[in-house]
Symmetry: C2
Subunit: 198 residues, 2 copies
DNA sequence: TGGGTCATGTAACCTGTTACATGATTAG
DNA sequence: CTAATCATGTAACAGGTTACATGACCCA
């Protein structure tokens, strides 16, 4: 996956490993992350596979750079991957893993946990930070057909956030309801209420 | 993460590696997956760390089993993990990675891609398959305070799905709009319309 | 003079996936 | 008779994270 993401970025224009890292950090962080260590490793693998080629560019006042360009074989591989029906089955959500076991902590802590999560947003500014990213903006003007897909991923991020916030609100309401029941009527009544609900 | 998930399951009752695998497959698949190979490896690590202990149980007519129980140190580790503010930053969505580069394929293929995704649901039956899982149901009756969190994770799955479907619908509408513009007015006008939109 | 940017990477480790291997019992 | 279930794992590989290392230039 990362391999093909890097390939797509190089397809949009020649890039150094460093530039690829900045794109991941500034424009793709809402759906993928990558460290330089992994990027440089993948670049070597991709060059060995003949998907990209490297040009050494000496610079003065700055370190020299290695600029990577996509090859015809790389372009073929990119569309092959796009068409390939290969979406991985396993979806992992560490937050839900914790929620699943939250019954081990007092209710109050559970409520605080959801409040903290609701208030911590992936897009603290409503997505503007990602949307304004310079490189993507340039591309949006150059090539609207590529830009529309980029906008759709941003839209996904926004909708995901809104959904997550709404879910947190619901969870907090549910937990507060349980707390009230425990407070006023004792644990047995609370148990009955939950069981009856389903 | 997986380590702590396994720990939480053993905390809810002694289990064999095989039983842990079935719980992941039947009840936690909407937010985590795990193969037996990984489960047995983690169990060994966890036993070495003193979080769990093992009892060999000979059986007749069936293979012998190794039943794992949580230790006091394991229980301490579980609540430490629950309280620890350690949610990983990197969120990875292979589907969005593909969407991001879909501009390399013709519009028709992009539309078909979203249609296929919209129709492939994680919860083909609206979540009933997961909710009815026997082990979890038993627990829901035993311990409502644990069960409520399990229900909340199911609810997340349902909301996520609904959001994803709605997002797909929006994407399809956007792409169809672009297709109409390209068809009737040529590529330059389409470009202008997208640029003006932002 | 201290921190940020540009630019390269390595080493060690941890986590996850794929494929394989065994073998009795039970239900259709 | 065949497939599924119960129950254990190993080996090899792929993918991802953390920490470290270098070094010049520029801005406050």
């Amino acid at each position: 996956m990362l391999r093909h993401g890097i390939l797509g970025l190089i397809n949009n224009g020649d890039k150094t490993g460093y530039e690829i890292m900045t794109v991941f950090r500034d424009s793709l962080s809402h759906f993928w992350t990558a460290q330089t260590s992994q990027i440089y490793r993948e670049l070597r693998t991709m060059e060995a596979a003949g998907w990209i080629s490297q040009t050494h560019v000496p610079q003065t006042g700055k370190p020299d750079k290695n600029v990577f360009s996509i090859t015809p074989a790389g372009r073929e591989e990119l569309v092959r991957w796009l068409r390939d029906d290969n979406l991985p089955p396993g979806f992992k959500n560490p937050f839900l893993m914790k929620v699943f076991f939250m019954g081990e902590l007092p209710l109050e802590e559970g409520i605080a946990f959801f409040e903290a999560f609701r208030d911590a947003s992936v897009f603290p500014d409503g997505g503007r930070g990602v949307s304004d990213s310079a490189g993507m903006y340039r591309q949006a003007l150059d090539n609207p057909e590529k830009a529309i897909y980029w906008k759709l991923t941003i839209e996904f991020g926004r909708m995901y956030e809104a959904m997550q916030r709404e879910w947190c609100e619901r969870c907090i309401r549910e937990l507060e309801r349980l707390r009230r029941m425990k407070g006023s009527q004792g644990p047995d009544d609370a148990a009955g209420a939950i069981a009856r609900e389903e």
